[in-house]
């Protein structure tokens, strides 16, 4: 379904040169849930931005259904691949009502029947009709993230790119949003690419997990391998130990990678 091969991204020139993504390759099958996990600066979000077309200074190959993508994305690509961002406070237009936010992609893609689509998609993400004509500031963080998910779903895409969709939310709200994402995927047979710094979230949501560090893929493991600690790299082990909470003795063994 989605294939990334030898992806490289370089920001800046000269002394400010930053090789943010180095030879990253992976492929995601239809209906699969693929997780990218790593610490800040590991390049995980940059990979997602290259796939979505938000960045165009990449080198390498990105294919969808065997078709290589060019720098400029077509309208049908945008309909097929949608993205949900980390910060629900920043990703919704503050002066547009939810209704207007959701109708904009419908209009761009000339799908028609906007009223019915908005109504249907709001119901699907668990927001009642009373939210339809509200502004983002009248909603809580969790509700806004539901709107962001609704905006991605309204075009009926096959691939959804999720960039830290719950890291700005409280744990109780995180559980609700993760449940919603799992339900929708099952109902619509979606393919997910999820970026997160939280191993537990990735393990809960994904089948295959790519561990990234400093722009490079450390290793790609299955969820089962993660649970059974069946992996070869020390970096992955350190991430796993760190996600288990505070342990004074273990911290002295931490290394820089």
């Amino acid at each position: 379904m989605l294939r990334v091969k030898d992806l490289n991204v370089i920001f800046g020139h000269g002394s400010a040169r930053n090789h943010a993504v180095k030879n990253v390759s992976f492929s995601v099958n239809r209906g699969e849930r693929f997780g990218l996990v790593g610490e800040s600066g590991s390049g995980k979000s940059t990979v997602l931005n290259c796939i979505s077309g938000l960045l165009d200074n990449w080198q390498g190959t990105i294919e969808i259904d065997g078709q290589p993508l060019s720098r400029k994305r077509t309208l049908s690509f945008c309909r097929n691949v949608q993205m949900v961002f980390q910060d629900p406070y920043g990703s919704l237009h503050p002066r547009h009502t939810i209704d207007r936010t959701l109708k904009e992609p419908v209009a761009i893609h000339k799908l028609g029947d906007g009223n019915r689509r908005v109504q249907q998609v709001l119901e699907e993400v668990g927001l009642g009709p009373q939210f339809r004509y509200r502004y983002p500031h009248q909603l809580s963080g969790g509700q806004r993230q539901r709107v962001a998910i609704a905006r991605a779903l309204i075009l009926e895409p096959e691939i959804i790119l999720l960039d830290e969709p719950t890291s700005a939310l409280d744990v109780s709200i995180q559980a609700e949003v993760l449940n919603l994402l799992a339900d929708i995927r099952q109902k619509r047979n979606l393919t997910y690419v999820l970026v997160s710094h939280d191993l537990a979230v990735v393990s809960h949501m994904c089948d295959t997990i790519s561990v990234m560090n400093r722009g490079e893929t450390v290793e790609i493991i299955s969820r089962k391998q993660l649970q059974e600690s069946d992996f070869s790299h020390h970096y992955t082990r350190q991430l796993l130990v760190a996600s288990k909470g505070y342990d004074r003795a273990a911290i002295d063994l931490f290394q820089d990678f």
Binding site: Q174, A175, L178, A200, A242, G245, Y246, R248, I251, F254
Partner: protein, 290 residues
Amino acid sequence: MNDPETLLTVHNLSVVFPSLKGDVQAVNNISFSLGKEKIGIVGESGSGKSVTGRAILRLLPPYARIQADTISYKDKNLLSFSEKEMRRIRGMEISMVMQDPKYSLNPVRTVGEQIIEAYAIHRKVSKREAKQRAIAMLEAVRIRNPQQVYKLYPHEVSGGMGQRIMIAMMLIPEPSLLIADEPTSALDVTVQLQILAILDDLVTRRGMGLIFISHDLELVASFCDRIIIMYGGRIMEIVDADRLHMSGHPYTRGLLNCLPKIAGTQEKLPTLVREESWLHPATPTISIGN
């Protein structure tokens, strides 16, 4: 309360923010006390955990109404202190580390100058001695090249380094109590743990008290001795960290259950069902002391 080890006692603290739509009760009648220990305050956003930390040091906007029967620190009644007297408490006796070093450090002054300021405000020392102390402190928070970092400006250091500098600055006047408000939430997990280890070592070595404010229940449980769990401005319960997983309070259970786990299945996560009765306790469950 008469325990000589007790550093801070808070009794029936309430904080109200007046607004056009009526008063907002951010903290509602909470009581706790702590000695030379690590105590965690955990809650979701809006639970009043940060406001509690700030109310102790009176670091709230002037329109906030702070009411309490007692806020006493080492048997001194902080409520009766003037603003001038409070300034002697802040930093010297009780200091506070905020969440984001980016906003807490002065961008146009070097790291060294700022650390020296924190020290010199409370003690009369020569410039040279203050500089030596500052560099020693940077070393204590495990910055490898303290001489070099001393001369840097805040934008030249990473988030993890910035937070270490903040901790150095807050500990240099040698306070007896440190309030850390989400000191590591903006950092990567491994850096977060390394900074907590530094805090832990310094707190243990100097025999300080620590109030650690966080939203991360599991982290607090593994780091602190006792945990105060807050919801809607009230204390739901105070538990020993090692007994957290045996807690019977529905809110605590709800928070613990809704966390995804690496070893867990991929089935639906239980969600938290909030009960109105938590905010209107028939008999206030207040526990003071250990």
